[in-house]
Amino acid sequence: MVLTPAWLAALFIAGVFAGGLGAIVGIGGGVVLVPLLVLVFHVHMHTAISTSLVAVVATSTAAGGTYVGSGLANMRLGMSLEVATCIGGLSGSLVALLVSGSVLAVVFSAMMLVSAVLLARGRDQEGPVAQSERDGPPPTPMERRGGLEGVYWDDGLRQAVAYRAEHFGYGSAVALFAGAVSGLLGVGGGFLKVPAMTLFMKVPIRVAAATSNFMIGVTAVASLFVYFVRGTVHPTLVAPIALGVTAGALSGTHLAKRLSSRTLRWLLAALLVLVAVQMLVRAARGGLVY
């Protein structure tokens, strides 16, 4: 790959596109960035994955301060789930380095198709979540006071809402899988973590999204260090991408408030399907060996 100003600008724009889309539609930039790098820039799959992991860290770092400062992110919940996601991420990255780029491309294509379905089925925005003390199973030692409880301010209800994360075991199991996917494919895994927290653990969506944003950075680092040590990180490739993703994520956060995400979600879902098919075809023809 030849280093030219045009090439650097193209990488930066790719980063802005991935970061902005991730901020607007809620599916992380890695799902877009990895196929962009492989299909357009002809980057090896392992390099694309490690580059994407850096982008995930950049996104999490850029937006994390906002979420933590707002009090939405539940740090105890996030750290508790991180035990599983980090182990998953570490394992996923070690496995990824043992398999060929073509195999990873096939697995990545399958993940893109799943993401496309999730995007198409997603909702525009979550309404206020009414949460109240409810009957349920007695809290486990992990869930007791000082564990996974929290309070956040709901703008819709204009009141403080209390919640308690439940079924920590189920949440951890999905977190482990999300971490493995992250390490294997270079994505943030938020599309697995957020549903795990909201559906299994009964955490309000805003808290889940904010906590997930904090988590994806730590998870990505668990995998990134493996790739970094093994020598698949190309700093000159990473630099413009990371700068672009940061700019895109920050801009996208502002744009998201003005744009209807529904049309964008459907467009991105269609794009993901097309790209997934293209990656599958190229992998089948052996055209992903760079």
């Binding site: 790959m1 030849v2 280093l3 030219t4 100003p5 650097l8 390099t47 850096v54 860290v57 950049a58 999490s60 770092t61 994390g64 740090m75 105890r76 750290m79 508790s80 991180e82 035990v83 980090c86 182990i87 991420g89 570490l90 990255s93 070690l94 000082g146 564990g147 904090f214 950075g217 730590v218 990505a220 680092v221 668990a222 995998s223 990134l224 260090f225 493996v226 790739y227 970094f228 040590v229 093994r230 020598g231 698949t232 990180v233 190309h234 700093p235 000159t236 490739l237 990473v238 630099a239 413009p240 990371a242 700068l243 940061t246």
Partner: protein, 91 residues
């Protein structure tokens, strides 16, 4: 912010030196990078990667001050996993 500054500096240095390739730089070879621009960019990657890890360390300190030892242990396990990823990456 600092990592972004390192990225920009690294790119500028590489372009100014007429570099035309994009080599990989392993973590433990950063200081032996072929050119200054590559080393600066690699340091930017390292600093960016260190940020979430430093957040984990900060949480350990915060929770220790609150005497919340259960979550100090949880965060310590996460920190240990991050350390293990560096060690296991060496093979």
């Amino acid at each position: 912010m600092l990592s972004s500054l390192l990225f920009v500096t690294g790119i500028v240095l590489r372009m100014a030196n007429g570099a035309s390739d994009t080599p990989a730089v392993p973590l433990f070879d950063i200081l032996r990078a072929p050119d200054p621009g590559l080393m600066v960019s690699a340091l930017g990657v390292l600093l960016l990667a260190a940020t979430p890890a430093l957040r984990v360390v900060a949480l350990i300190v915060i929770w220790a001050r609150e005497h919340d030892w259960r979550f100090v242990l949880v965060a310590a396990v996460v920190g240990s996993t991050l350390t293990a990823s560096v060690l296991l990456g060496r093979g």
